[in-house]
Amino acid sequence: MTAVSDRASEILGLHPATGTSVTERERLRSIRRTAVILGLLCAGFAAAYLLWDVKGSWSYALDLRSRQLASLVVVGAAVGASSLVFQTIAGSRILTPGVMGFDSLYVLIQTVIVSVLGPSALQLMGVPERFILNTALLAGFGLLLFRWLFRAHSRNLFVLVLVGIVVGSFFTSLATFASRMLSPDDYLTLQTVLFASFTTVDVQLLGVTAAVAVLGMAALVPLLRRLDVVDLGKDAATGLGLDYHRIVTITLVVVTVLVATSTALVGPMLFLGLLVANLARQIVPTHRHTVLVPVAGAVGVLATVGGQFLVTHVFALNTTLSVVVNLVGGLYFLYLLLKAVRL
């Protein structure tokens, strides 16, 4: 047996320490190459975003733009990473937190808080406390919701997606309803409290969300290798000795936290995650989450920073990034459904 083995390994060019064949090492090199290109592109767009066509005061422009850039980076990385791991635990390439109505839930929770506590109480609370309260509630409700959905209907993927989308629209309607229940004055206050303005970017909020996003992604690191196993499916993962439910629950919590950071900064972006996570899986054909998650984060940054740069500076369009992302993402989602390849 060993003799055959040796001959085979000679043909395959197995590396004694890593056990990799020539083919595998080539694949690894191409992944590394892609990662480097991706990094360069991110850096390039970030620099361009900061420096392109500055008129008037440099210090003012740089200050504002660096804040915008920072929030775009947080949003892109958080959405990319969270969507990718969510796809893995959901076992599907078309399920992302955005598609499942996570973002809308965040808006709903904020509105309900305003309705219950009153806008003045919320303003008194200060940005970090408010964000942390929102995030904690989101994580709690999100966990309940998804436990229920996954347990009851895990057999039919499409039912899950459809319910998710409709639940998202339900949350949106409910949030509108709750906001209309406020007096017109309170409603105006809510609008200003609800979404941070992207054009100015509150430094305090940026600081808190960035810190939380970094913490969330750090919490993902020890999970990455286990997520490789989760990707094999529940039975296989259990068979390999993984505490499937614990990993999925922890991951869900991290995902909700990351979604909260991005939603707090720029509001709901329905299809950004879908677009980014699938692109990431396409450009690095590997199952390893140690590679996939950072790449998804980078693709996310590229999409937000590059997208925003192109939309505002190059094409000078009077529109928001989320409108463009929804358009492109919606078309891409349709394409996925129509092709129906390995959903």
Binding site: V166, S169, S173, F177, V324, N326
Partner: protein
Amino acid sequence: MNVLATGGRTSLWVSLGAVVLAVGAYLSLAVGVVPIPLSDMLSPDERQWMLLSQVRIPRLVAVLLSGAALAVAGLIMQRVTQNSFVSPSTSGTVEAAVLGILVATLLVPGISLLGKMVVAIVVAVAGTMIFLQLLQRIRHRDPIVVALVGLMYGGVLSAITVFIAYQRDLLQLLEIWTTGSFSAVMSGQYEPLYAVLAVGVLGYVFADRFTVVGMGREFATNLGVSYLRILYTALIILSVMTAVVVVVVGAIPFLGLIVPNVVSMFMGDHVRRTLPVTALAGAGFVLLCDVIGRTVRFPYEIPVATIAGVLGAGVFVWLILRAARRPGATR
């Protein structure tokens, strides 16, 4: 009427529906900043009559007509596509109509209501036709996937609309078109809605053919019904109904989806029998949403679309889960 002749159960539902509708109609006339008690309703004084004839009665009529129209449009769409999870409001027809209004407003500034309506109808027909074409191309014939494709297609259309509206600073107008509300309805502004009555009668005439088409192309051909011609007739009828309502009062979400489904649960899928009941139920549903919208935050009004969005999405989720739980659907 035929419906009443078909059996005790049907007539029971119809009469029950009529009673509920009458109570709702009374509430709709009576509720407002100036309440009108029942005793005055039959012999109103001059001020009350002004209010009734100029505002309250037009509003009631508009509510009933749009509710009935959207529900019937949904019913027809579901039957001819053989899929109970599609409807004009979840498969692009409404979004296309809104896009049509936007385009009309941009191209011909100061265009009349009728002009907007024509453009909206044309774009709605085109938009729905594209959806039917997409249906032919879907590899998964799973009804849930079809529903998803419809939602996404509508989402793409509305993203295009938002994109254009953003460019021209028309977001606020867009909000009015996409959020159906009866608060601005008054005498002299809602009359185009009567068009849906005519189209509705046409739909009733074609009802049996829709049922046959709903059994599939081979089945229809076997019975000597021209599949494509009836499909396109249905397409035009449902697009006209939808576009007219969207132009006059704005979009009302989920109505066309849930009402026909609930009616079909009790009465089956024979279009000639279910169409009148569906119309009544749709009218009743919108009436209910409108009365809630006017009372819950009195004296402010919550748009009908918001109430319908909350109620409708809830019922829709229940419908999906119910369908998924049925044996054979998931396992």
